[in-house]
Amino acid sequence: MYVAVKGGERAIENAHAYLGEQRRGDPGVAELGTDQIEQQLSLAVNRVMAEGSLYDPALAALAIKQSRGDLIEAIFLIRAYRTTLPRLGASIPVDTARMECIRRVSATFKDVPGGQILGPTFDYTHRLLDFALMAEGEAPVAPRKPAEPAHVPHVTGFLGDLIQPEDSSDTEPRDLTREPLELPADRALRLQSLTRGDEGFILGLAYSTQRGYARNHAFVGELRIGTVAVEMDIPELGFSVEIGEVELTECETVNQFKGSKTEPPQFTRGYGLTFGQTERKAISMALVDRALRWRELGEDYVGAPAQDEEFVLSHADNIQATGFLEHIKLPHYVDFQSELELVRRMREAAE
């Protein structure tokens, strides 16, 4: 006699135990420390912080360990933790012009005040597997010279009135994580969504604009990576206090704009700002930001995905996407059964 399947609870517990075992792998191999992940897989840590919207390298490293290196799962762990944190206040906007840059390149000018700084980039590495890394050994020491505190002004600043000035406003932007997304969204909200959006999705959209789906050629006016101070106004003190620093990647693209009835021909800007060293994401973000600005700039809407605000903002979040995508593996016996009946009935009627 048939007995309905029982034991869901035990199955779940056993699955979790099995997962834990697989996470650890061969116990004969030394366990990975979260400090090792933080130090040696730092770009993974950076991605998790950027898309998790939480700047905390130690927690990101823990999430990566816990998720067995599945970065979307790690981002999910960080997001779920982030939601429970109290909001103590908002910092004053960080000043990226005062960034201490470890990398800063401009594709638009051969040299600029503050200089071109390659920094720790893969750009000119030959992608040849370095088998020496499989053996243990000391890392080569990079040559260094004494730091000279240099002022590193934004490259786009040198374009003066040839580049469209951005609206400056002190109104508090809406918070994507505290209010439901309602469309149309202003630029601040779009940028919030893009900066936590999935790197692959934003990259694909940005790439599509380069290949002609809402093409608007972008020059990387400047790409900079470095640390900035985070300051907060403390009402009791009456002045702002530096509470820490964060590493950021900022990208400003310079795009052509032919002008309109009210505006002279000038350059316009796409903007990307992300946590950590995440330049692929920051450049992609800048391209998509610029593509989404077609309406305010009076450009044609050609129906390209990257121009479609509702499409982009509704699908950029990888935690939403992966959840809904993967939920189809949950039981659907009931709705499938109803479809089964319907198909049988329709076939009967047809015969």
Binding site: Y2, A4, V5, K6, G7, G8, E9, A11, I12, L59, F76, R79, A80, Y81, R82, T83, T84, P86, T177, R178, E179, P180, L181, E182, L183, P184, E310, S314, I319, Q320, T322, G323, F324, L325, E326, H327, I328, L330, P331, H332, Y333, V334, D335, Q337, S338, E339, L340, E341, L342, R345, M346, A349
Partner: protein
């Protein structure tokens, strides 16, 4: 590091902080005041994935009190893995009493079914909703569908149902069958089989619908008039498999089809495991 080591006991009752619950309750009150209308709410990132019932979990969390008795079902059954997982979540974070008996529960969270036993006044049924917008697969843009609801512009839906009849001789929707609430809003009843649709109307229980990823809440207050869309010459029909339950013999319940051997033999059993158990014991 200590401040970081949040264990479950450090979370607020039913996980969500009180401000978030208040925000959800406001959305719920609005939803009850405008039956069938989708109220946007600031859905939180929950410690379970979108698609696993984050909307339902948030609604349940906002409704739960320490005296409540909670029942969680998925596909009508208390023992499906995700029902087990959600029930455990609330046992852990709210320490509430749980039950499998429909009549003993004060709050029932469900995915894809309405229990067979009649619900009573004072009970709350919380639905997990994947896509709250009944017009979504006719018009993908939220900005458009909101306008269509505002203007009560439901022609597209009727055309779709009509085309079904023209093509297939019947309305080819078996679950998530659209309904009209109090003659005003067209509403998605969540992916329940259309067999369950009649239970939506005039039900003495409060029915709440939560869609976490899509950030929407909607409701059917007790005794709301809910009509499944149809045509005079093609009236709505609540269908089920043409069998009786092979365990309890019921002829009036929704059935799961179970394949029992590799010869393709199959049997039909109640999808509502609690209902089936009571009938077996009787």
């Amino acid at each position: 590091m200590n401040a970081r080591q949040k264990n479950t006991t450090e979370y607020n009752f039913a996980y969500l902080d009180e401000d978030t619950k208040r925000m959800i309750r406001r959305a719920l009150l609005k939803a009850v005041a405008i039956p069938g209308y989708q109220v946007p709410f600031a859905s939180r990132e929950m410690p379970m994935p979108y698609g696993w019932g984050t909307g339902g979990v948030q609604v349940t969390a906002a409704c739960l009190t320490p005296d409540d008795v909670l029942k969680v079902i998925d596909q009508g059954a208390d023992d499906t893995t995700n029902a087990v997982s959600i029930r455990k979540f609330f046992q852990r974070t709210a320490d509430v009493a749980v039950t499998e008996a429909t009549q003993d529960a004060t709050i029932i969270q469900t995915r894809h079914r309405i229990p067979e036993a009649a619900l009573t006044e004072g009970q709350i049924l919380v639905f997990q909703v994947p896509i709250p917008e009944p017009l979504r697969f006719l018009e993908p843009r939220e900005t458009e569908t909101r306008k269509m609801h505002e203007l009560e512009e439901y022609g597209l839906m009727h055309v779709k149902l009509y085309e079904d009849i023209a093509k297939h001789g019947q309305i080819a929707t078996a679950y998530a069958y659209p309904v009209k609430v109090e003659g005003r809003y067209v509403m998605d009843p969540s992916p329940i089989p259309k067999f369950d649709n009649p239970k939506l109307s005039g039900n003495p229980a409060l029915m709440l619908f939560g869609a976490g990823r899509e950030q929407r809440i909607y409701a059917l207050p007790p005794h709301t008039n809910v009509v499944s869309l149809d045509f005079e010459d093609h009236p709505f029909e609540a269908s089920k498999a043409n069998h009786n339950c092979d365990i309890c013999g019921a002829g009036d319940t929704y059935l799961d089809e179970v394949i029992t051997d590799d010869q393709g033999s199959r049997m039909f059993v109640c999808s509502d495991t609690d209902h089936c158990r009571i009938r077996q014991e009787a």
